[in-house]
């Protein structure tokens, strides 16, 4: 079912919860089982905790266009009380959801009986105090805020600020700053829309707040550039504080150079010292103090470089892959085609290709590294470039904030992989 295609995956700040959003506008939250001493071989598995419909399809009558209910991004707020809060967004509207548990209910009301029917007051002969009794756990999700009508273009990113009071939402041409308490207005902090739309040559592709400095954020563009902005300098951050761009390699120039340089995702490291960007063929790590080139470049699937024309024809060249850091910023991960995903160890410089598919992995089996054969003889177990299935793309992945647990979305299936237990 197309509605089941997973469109975003995100762990919360403790890793206890994992949220997924899909094309049908639904959010499914998984919760990690408490590890029990009796079943030590079952290390905290993730089970469904809550499912709710976040967004519905809408119709924009003036433009005569549908607004998709697909969830583009989910971002968790840090937990401040017993309830969990997350932001979910489609192309136009951001919503704040509260997910809370109820495991007790009051019993013994005076004015109504257990079914909720009102009692006849004349029949009441004594007063009693209602008591809370345990009930089966119920998890409810309620929409607490709806932030609408602030984006003309399609929202591609949301990011919670480290002050936990504000967040930003970015579309193709603008970025808005919101206060969680205020839904009827937002501040526009970036606007790259040209006065004459005929002059449009560049769009915003992703944006994120710095993990510690609440005045700093970055946004990436379709021309492969990253801008770091400081909100203290001006209300409208059209002038960047830093501008990150790698000079073009003339030997690799083609008509597709710009398209493959378009950045599809940008993520700060947990430390806040680096940013990672994903373009069509590579993942790059940048030091915030060096703007003229990345400090590291990793090839995700360079064998596609000779296939760019075909990938342009079938539109795959426009696929937007995401990238993630592990908790210690030592390993980075990003997806590819054929349900492959790649991990790069920044320290050892080793990398691995793994596959998320049911046929090739039984539960509890160790994932076998995969290899794509580029030319010449194909070894057994290798797969040739022409045999890759480009309809099986891994665009969305997530890494647990402190443990080696990863979530990989392969079309409409979610895979959760953990470190092998000895």
């Amino acid at each position: 079912l197309p509605a089941d295609i997973i469109s975003t995956v995100e762990f919360n700040h403790t890793g206890e919860l994992l949220a997924t959003g899909d094309k049908g506008g639904r959010v499914v939250i998984f919760q990690r089982e408490q590890e029990s001493k009796h079943q030590s071989h079952r290390r905290g598995e993730y089970n469904v905790y809550s499912t709710f419909q976040s967004h519905e399809p809408e119709f924009d009558y003036l433009k005569s266009l549908e607004i998709e209910e697909k969830i583009n991004k989910i971002r968790w707020l840090p937990q401040q009380n017993a309830a969990y809060f997350l932001l979910s967004t489609n192309d136009k509207t951001v919503k704040l959801w509260k997910v809370s548990e109820r495991d007790k209910r009051p019993e013994g009301y005076n004015l109504k009986d257990e079914d909720g029917r009102l009692r006849d007051p004349s029949m009441i002969t004594m007063l009693r105090v209602p008591v809370l009794r345990p009930m089966d756990l119920m998890v409810e999700a309620t929409p607490r805020r709806v932030f609408a009508n602030a984006h003309t273009y399609h929202i591609n990113s949301i990011s919670v600020n480290s002050d936990y009071e504000t967040y930003m939402s970015a579309d193709d041409l603008r970025i808005n700053l919101w206060n969680f308490e205020i839904t009827n207005q937002s501040f526009n902090i970036v606007d790259i829309k040209p006065a004459n739309m005929e002059e449009l040559t560049e769009v915003i592709t992703a944006a994120e707040f710095h993990p510690h400095h609440c005045n700093t954020f970055v946004y990436s563009s379709s021309k492969g550039t990253i801008r770091l902005c400081d909100m203290r300098t001006a209300a409208l951050c059209d002038r960047h504080a830093k501008f990150f761009e790698e000079p073009e390699d003339p030997s690799n120039r083609s008509f597709f150079s710009e398209i493959i340089s378009s950045i599809s995702d940008v993520k700060f490291s947990h430390s806040g010292r680096y940013i990672m960007t994903r373009d069509y063929l590579t993942v790059k790590v940048w030091d915030l103090n060096m703007e003229n080139r990345p400090i590291e470049t990793y090839q995700v699937h360079d064998y596609l470089r000779s296939k760019l024309c075909s990938l342009y024809e079938n539109d795959c060249i426009f696929d937007k892959f995401e990238c993630v850091w592990n908790g210690s910023d030592s390993v980075i991960m990003s997806g590819s085609y054929n349900n492959f995903f790649r991990m790069f160890d920044r320290n050892t410089k080793r990398d691995v290709t793994l596959e998320a598919s049911r046929e090739n992995s039984k539960p509890r089996a160790v994932l076998k590294p995969r290899k794509v054969c580029v030319g010449g003889k194909r070894r057994k177990d290798e797969i040739s470039v022409d045999s890759l299935d480009f309809s099986k793309k891994i665009l969305h992945t997530a890494w647990h904030p402190s443990e080696n647990i990863i979530a990989v979305a392969a079309t409409n299936n979610l895979y959760i992989f953990q470190d092998k237990v000895n």
Binding site: Y61, S64, H154, V203, R253
Partner: protein, 246 residues
């Protein structure tokens, strides 16, 4: 050919054929490959994606690619050559049929709302001045291909001004904003329709392609006969609300 840095073949898989002795299939020349890429890009920009708003990032990237090709073609003078050649007819047929799928019959008759097949008039008007004597519209290099195509279908419509620039594609994308209510309705003879009929016509035709949606402006008969035409008061209030707010 040109001294323009290193260029790469954009056709994949052709490298294999290079090695064969027989060389049965000639490798398309760089010009043909580039032309094919240009055609493919223009088709991509034109294809109407049903009901959902087109992806702006993708459109911008494709448009930039088209500009890049055009610039290169201008620099090496290929742009003028295209007029005299009849290359790519086979691919043109394919492109024509794709294009027709996207246009309602009214658009074809009036040549409206067609994002430029043969765009970028700004830079190339000078080159084509000699062809301009008959038509008021500025002529672009691929115009010959285009005019051949349209002559096959609508000979008398050839001078219809359907050659919008690429820039106007973005205007089209951009103008789908709540503020351009006047633009949206400006082509409609207001005395003929009332708002109710038009809007309910739009609503009832939601399942049609986006391009076909324009047909609601031109065919009152269909909206009248459409059983969904009866406006639901609540929905109409909602629409009026939107108009008022914007």
């Amino acid at each position: 050919m040109f001294v323009r840095g290193l260029k790469r073949k954009c056709f994949d898989g052709e490298e294999d054929i290079e090695g064969t002795l027989a060389g049965i299939k000639a490798i398309p020349s760089y010009n043909l490959q580039r032309q094919s890429l240009l055609d493919m890009s223009l088709v991509k920009l034109q294809l109407c994606h049903m009901l959902v708003e087109p992806n702006l990032c993708r459109s911008v990237l494709i448009a930039n690619t088209v500009r890049q090709i055009q610039e290169e073609m201008t620099q090496d003078g290929t742009w003028q050559m295209i007029n005299t050649q009849s290359t790519g007819q086979a691919s043109l047929d394919r492109l024509v049929s794709t294009d027709i799928l996207c246009r309602s019959s009214r658009e074809q008759a009036e040549g409206k709302h067609v994002p430029g097949y043969s765009t970028f008039n700004k830079d190339f008007e000078g080159n084509q001045a000699q062809d301009n004597s008959e038509t008021a519209s500025s002529v672009q290099a691929p115009r010959n291909l285009q005019s051949n195509a349209w002559e096959m279908e609508n000979p008398q419509e050839n001078k219809g001004n359907f050659q919008k620039s690429l820039d106007q594609i973005f205007e089209t994308l951009e103008n789908k904003s709540p503020n351009s209510v006047e633009d949206l309705f400006s082509e409609v003879d207001n005395s003929y329709y009332d708002l109710d009929t038009m809007l309910t016509g739009m609503m009832s035709n939601t399942k049609m392609g986006h391009c076909d949606g324009l047909e609601t402006f031109s065919s009152p008969a269909t909206t009248a006969s459409n059983s969904n035409c009866k406006s639901d008061l609540n929905e109409l209030d909602h629409i009026v609300e939107i108009l008022v707010e914007s």
